[in-house]
């Protein structure tokens, strides 16, 4: 026996672990599907063809007379997303530094910053929107604040990751040359991180346009109100126009933002 292969470690243990994981997964799936099966109202499939005939053709023949109204709301949605994202993009810079491991000496203070951003990210948009509508009243401003606060959590985390990945040698070199904190910030750190900061902010802007469409549900401005209204009034032609408008606007902005981001990084 020249060579022998060591026995694969923990084989049985691994098998048992996998078995337990699969069982738990199976239980979750059975529980979910059974629950949905019991809750679902299967009678919706009875006169489906008729409903499709009523809705689908008018959905694809948009009512161009409503263009002004729909366009105004879409523009408002874009403005909410823009103002909110910009607030978040600026506000997230100090918090990004706070949550970056290589910028904060005390680990406790640093973890605190990380947790703060995690806490902010757990709030779904709609919950924050409800808070803001109750406090500052219904309107687009509540929407701006909501988008600002939700985007801020994610951007802060992404910024922190960017800052953690910079080349610290530049910082050290400047420190050795006697540069003060501001000079280090402006000449060593910002040139390294700004393109990526901007790129992430643009990416978040794309997300926020979609996110700000739902704000109208609770009265925080944007196209959401119009979507719900036109569905309630069974105005499918108008809903079709909204659908078309959103697809066009979002595609154009996504395209432009992708182009800019490619140039930035």
């Amino acid at each position: 026996m020249g060579k022998y292969l060591p026995p694969k470690p923990h084989q049985t243990q691994k098998r048992i672990r996998n078995l337990i994981i699969y069982t738990i997964l199976a239980i979750i799936f059975i529980w979910a599907f059974k629950g949905v099966w019991d809750r679902a109202d299967w009678s919706v499939f009875n006169n489906l063809a008729e409903k499709f005939q009523r809705v689908i053709p008018s959905l694809f023949s948009p009512d161009w007379n409503q263009l002004d109204k729909v366009w105004e709301k879409i523009v408002e949605t874009v403005f909410i997303a823009y103002a909110g994202t910009l607030i978040a993009a600026i506000l997230a810079v100090p918090f990004g530094f706070w949550a970056a491991k290589n910028m904060v000496k005390s680990p406790i203070w640093n973890t605190l910053g990380k947790w703060f951003l995690i806490l902010d990210r757990t709030f779904p948009e709609l919950i924050l929107a409800i808070f803001f509508v109750i406090t500052v009243g219904p309107g687009a401003f509540a929407g701006v604040l909501t988008i600002g606060l939700t985007a801020f959590g994610m951007l802060g985390k992404l910024y922190a990751e960017v800052i953690e990945s910079i080349d610290m040698k530049v910082v050290e070199a400047m420190e050795a040359n006697g540069a003060n904190k501001m000079q280090i910030l402006f000449y060593a750190i910002f040139p390294q991180v700004l393109p990526e900061f901007l790129s992430f902010a643009l990416y978040r802007f794309e997300i926020d346009i979609r996110a700000s469409t739902i704000l109208g549900l609770v009265g925080a401005g944007g196209i959401g109100t119009l979507i719900v209204l036109s569905a309630a009034n069974r105005n499918w032609e108008q809903l079709g126009l909204i659908l078309l408008g959103i697809i066009v606007v979002v595609s154009v902005i996504d395209f432009a933002s992708t182009k800019i981001r490619k140039r930035l990084v």
Binding site: F29, W42, V55, A83, L126, L145, I227
Partner: protein, 272 residues
């Protein structure tokens, strides 16, 4: 960036690190961004001054209206929460199943046919631009009020996202392994099963968990348009201005979201 410009103008003996043209360009972009910002603040009726001046009043108003939460209402909120999670599980399962063929067709390492590749990409891109609320509204108008509309809306919504993430991962895998299997006579199924699956499985599981989290959050929106889930009772309580009940629901929801995210983060760390 502009602060830097100011610094350098005042101390003209200091050489600038950046060329003049670039600085001008950046200043212009900065000005345009700011102008657009102020215009959008004007357009949205933003009023930060009042917000800061009356901050204590606003916070008081919030606390008076929403606190204390109506703890008894939590027992009512549990069942819709379970419904929400079940909807999210089922919708995620469906979208994971559908996204596998969709993302294989949208990856240029697998499909060499330009036409199929471009068509699938375009369809997925269009799908991704439609916000969840609009999908939910359309499905509710087609299938009527109930969780079936919600599941369908979430499935389509997460399909676009999941297929994009997965197809991009498939495009970045090591093509030599696929080549080797093809060269030794493997058919397309064998290429996918032995070449693609082992390389993308960890990311795939991670994306699936991520989409599940998103779906739990998105199913909050569904209830507002009548597609089931916990949003339904939030909508009702909001309309009756019973903010203390709303607060109770929000607390339940937040706890559920935190638990789900913690578990999913733990699983993701093990997998990737």
């Amino acid at each position: 960036m502009t602060e830097k410009n100011k610094n350098q103008k005042s101390k003209s003996n200091v050489h600038s690190l950046y060329p003049r043209k670039l600085k001008l360009q950046i200043t212009w972009i900065f000005i345009i961004v700011l102008l657009f910002y102020f215009y959008s603040l004007y357009e949205t009726g933003a009023d930060f001054v009042t917000l800061i001046v009356d901050f204590d009043k606003i916070i008081n108003a919030l606390f008076n209206k929403m606190l204390p939460p109506n703890w008894e209402y939590i027992s009512v909120a549990i069942d819709p929460l379970i419904e929400t999670i079940q909807i999210a599980v089922v919708a995620t399962t469906f979208s994971v199943l559908i996204c596998i063929p969709a993302s294989l067709m949208a990856a240029n390492t697998i499909v060499k046919n330009k036409f199929i590749y471009q068509t699938t990409r375009t369809i997925l891109n269009i799908l991704r631009t439609i916000p969840d609320i609009l999908l939910a509204t359309i499905f509710v108008s087609l299938f009527g009020i109930g969780i079936i509309s919600g599941i369908l809306a979430l499935t389509i919504f997460s399909l676009g996202l999941l297929a994009k993430l997965l197809s991009e991962t498939i495009e970045t895998i090591d093509p030599r392994q696929l080549e080797a299997i093809r060269a030794s006579g493997g058919n397309i199924i064998q290429v996918i099963w032995y070449g693609v699956v082992p390389q993308v499985l960890p990311q795939f599981i991670s994306y699936g968990l991520y989409v599940f989290e998103l779906n739990v959050r998105a199913s909050l929106v569904l209830g507002f348009v009548g597609a089931g889930g916990i949003g339904t009772i939030i909508d009702t309580e909001l309309n009756f201005l019973r903010y203390q009940n709303v607060m109770a629901i929000l607390i339940v929801l937040l706890v559920a979201v935190i638990i789900i995210e913690t578990i999913s983060n733990m699983l993701r760390r093990r997998v990737v």
